[in-house]
Point group: C2
């Protein structure tokens, strides 16, 4: 195995952070823009986002949620209304103060002092307050409920330390916002959205996730309950990949979202919000990437099969391209995971081997090379991205008759999809440690070898207020956080590792992005 | 005909501007947001935009253009580089000057003086300069060309007077940006994008348009050539519905976009940009709307067929809903305009007649009402939105056997699509006046009855500089503008109506949005 010459210069095991950056650059997914904290998402990275959008959007629409679009600018006053929302969000945001530039007289431009806004506008960090305004206009009676809206948008949260896809000042996301008659209905919607995220993460992105409730200290500012899906990266850290919030009537009070109930009385709505972002792409990289680059699950791969003709820049090329075009057509007529197979015939100039490694680094699920001899034999050379190497450290090409390959390409794609999920699930499950019964044990566990050995499941008494603060501080000293209280876990049967009191539930503790 | 009780309170002929606002509100497409110049796009309006996006995006991808995403913030310095671009854009833009809010000590929030940005950031009004920076990084050699990128994004241009969809401070659009080796290649791309817009406008939106070159005074700031598609609204005014720019090497010089040519020398790239926006939806309203509301062309209708069961809130409802579900399934299995038919079974509570008029105002192409008696007879009552009224002023229902209706629903949708285009084309062609040979005649023509009688085709000598300024001033006094120099017009054969010199081409003169 030591004979393998991997396609990246940095290995996961050697420097995970550096490896992550190299995957993004080697797979040509994104780059720094030169604008503080903002990235440029390049075609391969954006193509993955488009796939995630399409699949998630279908799930959102299936749930009867309707897409809208709300203003990017939120008047400052909106943030002053909901006290804990201010506290949580009114910190690092981009503030628009002027609406015109003028010449500074020296060849440069400055904000025009004459064009100062009376009320500054905030570039949305999230849209509860502006959508709350709309809901207060749209909802009169219980007949208008539930109101189920969503928007796909860019948002800005000024970040001091940024990392591509994981934490950038501007990012792309969807935000669902719903209003309901009762706590019960709103909670059901909160859980529906959470389950939708779980299903999309696992079925589409092949990311095994733990769905559960965040502890009080990690709640969205203004929420009554915050639920998350958490995925384990290959360095053992957790990534919060989506959240769903039950907001109680807090935002309804702030924005005056009221309805006439069935008895004619006035009630405040119970609202929810839920979102996933381009951060998910960071999760895909850190769960499925290997020392050769990214591996994109077929459902979210912009191209599922890439055909590389071995062109020689002679008269033979035309026939070879014809053969490849036939192959492409044959594949595109097949249906994998419910959609036509997405095939690229990459006939750009360049050596086939160099192009092969580009597509390996990008993580195209299946790469097919076709040379004149393959064509003469009616064959193709097939490389599966999830089984790249032979035991001898060579690229593991299978030479298949064209018809045979086309005939089972869809089954292969589906096998790759489920294989990636299974592999990630096994790795995650192997790296969750149970039965840890004291904070010291937790500390010793995470100190060992300076590794990140995964997550630890512990039992606790669910302290609140100052007692919870003490727990958070203890964990913070160990660079750890509580990820969530998993749904469907075994009931607690021991003592709280923090307070010594009888435990009421199990939680996951981990390092996190 | 006077017996018709139309579904809107204002008629096009009585007050076109007021009618436009009423359509938007009655079709529940959008509303004012309370944030200056920004609108909220509601589900029906946004659904139309999603359809336009999907169809246009497919055309963009078919041309080999790849979607990316670039930062919303553009450093001020980027605007200082390209002189005419500054002149044209560096005026009314949203300027971010701070990145944090703090308490004002009185319960309010203010921008934190400690968090003032060293260099203000502009919320993108368009992205030539920031994408130019990326191109300068991405392009080294002629092998990297052409570079074909596009993004779907929100942009902001501070507007003093706004009108929903037509002119808002924030709007949604796509912007294509491409770089090429030669003027010839870049011009070919400029024309390809223009033709793509023409085809999408006519085939998808059923908007007949005139494609042509804008006069020098109407060029995009920094462009060598600006081309547009222009549509005629029902008040005779023109709407510029899309533009495509050949930018020469101006932006390449500003952002240093250079490549090594085939001989090893360094050359500046020739670039293009092209865009269409949510403004197109304003065009759809003003071309296809009538005194009963919007009429959405089937290809861009979020729902093409709306089924309204006449529910009685008794035990009979279940069977009726079953019958309607069968109908829905039968329709969804059909394919119109190359996609499965989009059907809504609207079983929300409410009287069927009230719901019918809601869908008439929204402009769903086909409305199907089904009552218990229809079900008993195996029939449905079909209303075509493009043929709403009988000669007696009643809704023109056709009672059809269910199977017959399902069998020809796709043909009906395609007939509605082409009928809307044909109707708009005939109206436009009937309202273009040719043979006008003096400015006085033009003035008299547009003064007549205070009507907006359409467009006038005149011949001109294509003056430039100060001579063109005089033409623009003359027209401005008449509230007229030059729309474009249509592609494929008859050659000029007369004198310029402005200068008296021999004419070189024909132009359209009109009032415009």
């Amino acid at each position: 195995m030591s004979a393998i010459r991997h396609a990246l210069s940095v290995k996961r095991a050697d420097d995970f952070a550096q490896w992550y950056q190299e995957v993004i650059s080697a797979a040509d997914m994104a780059e720094e823009s030169g604008v503080r904290g903002c990235m440029v998402i390049k075609p391969w990275g954006y193509g993955i986002w488009e796939r995630i959008q399409r699949l998630m959007d279908a799930r959102i629409k299936d749930a009867g949620v309707q897409n809208c679009y709300f203003p990017i600018f939120i008047p400052l006053g909106n943030f002053e209304r909901e006290a804990s929302h201010v506290e949580g969000f009114a910190k690092e945001m981009a503030v628009v103060t002027h609406h015109r530039l003028i010449s500074d007289g020296k060849g440069g431009l400055i904000p025009d002092p004459e064009a100062k806004l009376e009320e500054p506008l905030v570039v949305r960090p999230t849209s509860e307050t502006i959508i709350g305004d709309a809901m207060s206009r749209w909802i009169q009676s219980w007949r208008d409920l539930p109101l189920l809206t969503n928007q796909w948008a860019n948002v800005v949260r000024w970040e001091m330390r940024t990392r591509m896809f994981l934490r950038t000042s501007e990012f792309l996301w969807q935000e669902g916002h719903t209003a309901h008659e009762s706590r019960e209905d709103a909670k059901a919607e909160t859980m529906r959205a959470l389950e939708m995220y779980r299903a999309c993460a696992e079925e589409d992105l092949a990311l095994p996730v733990i769905a559960g409730e965040k502890p009080e200290n990690e709640r969205f500012p203004g929420a009554e309950e915050t639920w998350s899906i958490e995925a384990m990266m290959q360095d053992g850290k957790a990534l919060q990949a989506g959240t769903s919030h039950y907001l109680g009537t807090n935002f309804a009070h702030a924005a005056n979202i009221r309805y006439q109930d069935r008895e004619g009385g006035q009630q405040f709505c119970h609202t929810t919000s839920w979102g996933v972002s381009t951060r998910m792409i960071g999760g895909v990289i850190m769960v499925h990437g290997d020392d050769d680059g990214l591996r994109v699950p077929p459902r979210i791969a912009p191209y599922q099969v890439v055909i590389l003709p071995m062109l020689r820049e002679d008269e033979g090329d035309a026939a070879l391209l014809d053969y490849c075009a036939t192959l492409k057509l044959g594949l595109a007529e097949q249906s994998a995971c419910g959609e036509p197979v997405r095939v690229l015939l990459d006939s750009k100039p360049g050596k086939a081997a160099a192009k092969r490694w580009d597509w390996v680094r990008k993580g195209a699920p299946i790469i097919v090379e076709v040379g004149p001899r393959d064509m003469a034999d009616g064959k193709v050379a097939v490389l599966r991205r999830d089984r790249l190497w032979t035991e001898q450290g060579k690229p593991d090409f299978a030479f298949r008759a064209l018809g045979d390959f086309v005939g089972d390409a869809c089954a292969t794609l589906e096998a790759i999809q489920s294989g990636l999920l299974e592999q990630a699930r096994e790795r995650r499950d192997a790296n969750i440690t149970r039965g840890v019964t004291s904070v010291d044990e937790v500390a010793a566990f995470f100190a060992e070898d300076q590794r990140y050995p995964g997550w630890v499941e512990v039992q606790w008494s669910k302290p609140t207020g100052a007692a919870l603060d003490r727990v958070v501080e203890q964990l913070k000293a160990l660079k750890l956080t509580i990820r969530n209280v998993p749904i469907g876990a075994e009931p607690a049967d021991g003592s709280c590792i923090f307070t010594g009191e009888p435990a009421v539930e199990r939680i996951y503790v981990a390092r996190a992005y």
